[in-house]
Symmetry: C2
Subunit: 202 residues, 2 copies
């Protein structure tokens, strides 16, 4: 037994990570309530009851998944907000980061976007609060861009909702075997959002 004891790259994952990955895939494909703990266990090669050595409850598993995604979103935008970029560059960077995070793991992104509704009421509330914080940072950037007269509208809430809407649906159509990288898609969407589709006649 030397230093490289891993049989394959796959088995470097801990069982916990395997369970998270399997749960993401199944929650995305079949929905939270359409996935049984036995489905998840089977995917990692154990029986249903044995899952409970690794998880507290099915609800707790969902909670860990959506929180891991939320952590990444919040980290990315806080770093951008704290940078010394101009406000329009910050907004562009935030759009690209959002697309990068959504496409990093489509299954996890889908669970984050859709299945969080099925958290227990207490946790659903906590999740909504975190997402509101994230969106508030976004809205703050939009507001500043309006005050600095880069953005035309005077309704930062609606403009922020427009941006986030355009981004949040990406998980339904992005394909990793397509012709664009996540960053390229992010840049393209940033162009569409800030410059619009219409040809500038100037």
């Amino acid at each position: 037994m030397g230093v490289k004891t891993a049989k394959t790259v796959k088995t470097l994952e801990t069982r916990k990570e395997q369970i998270h990955q399997a749960a993401c895939r199944l929650f995305h494909q079949q929905g939270f309530h359409g996935t049984s703990v036995r489905d998840i266990a089977q995917e990692v090669g154990i029986l249903g009851g044995s899952l409970y050595t690794h998880i507290v409850s099915k609800d707790d598993l969902l909670w860990e998944i959506v929180n891991a995604v939320a952590d990444r979103f919040v980290d990315r935008i806080q770093e951008i907000a704290a940078s010394d970029l101009g406000v329009m560059q910050k907004l562009r960077a935030a759009v690209i980061a959002h697309v990068e995070e959504i496409t990093r793991d489509i299954d996890a992104a889908a669970v984050f976007a859709i299945e969080w509704r099925h958290l227990s009421p207490r946790r659903r509330k906590a999740f909504t609060a975190r997402r509101n914080d994230y969106e508030a940072i976004f809205r703050g950037m939009v507001d500043q861009a309006m005050r600095e007269r880069f953005i035309a509208s005077n309704d930062p809430s609606s403009a922020a909702l427009f941006i986030l809407s355009a981004l949040n649906w990406v998980f339904t159509w992005y394909r990793h075997d397509g012709r664009m990288t996540p960053t390229e898609v992010g840049r393209m969407l940033a162009d569409f959002i800030f410059d619009g589709l219409k040809r500038r006649t100037a």
Copy 2:
């Protein structure tokens, strides 16, 4: 008993309509697999087994709901496509119509957007085909607008996905007690999509 025999406006609905409405609400709030046929039955004041006088199966109920929504989307865009409007006016009208249909019944729109995944495999395929047809009409308009040089990009697929993304997320945040009507939201989003958020410096 005169002409106006209805006890309340509510009881004018047929039992079938009551069931559809209750199912939409519950499928949206709890998800398809998180809603039992007994939940739906309780909402209309009968027992679980009695539902089956009105529906064939739970899957069939979901199918009827998503198809009713699909019918409305397709009707609206076909009427616009067949009109004699200019291509940019058609696109604007299609954006507004899409928002109007999504906000007409938020519960139904959510089931249409999200819960269709839980249809039986055969019906899921049929649903995807219908949605692809709808999106193809949208994409055709975008393509024509590019050929007529109204739209700058030369990638109609990506531009159409951008538009539909911006619209399809609206069901998560539109509130009927908010300050804008569906048509106003549609017009605003059309402005954002085609003109962009950035102030035109011309």
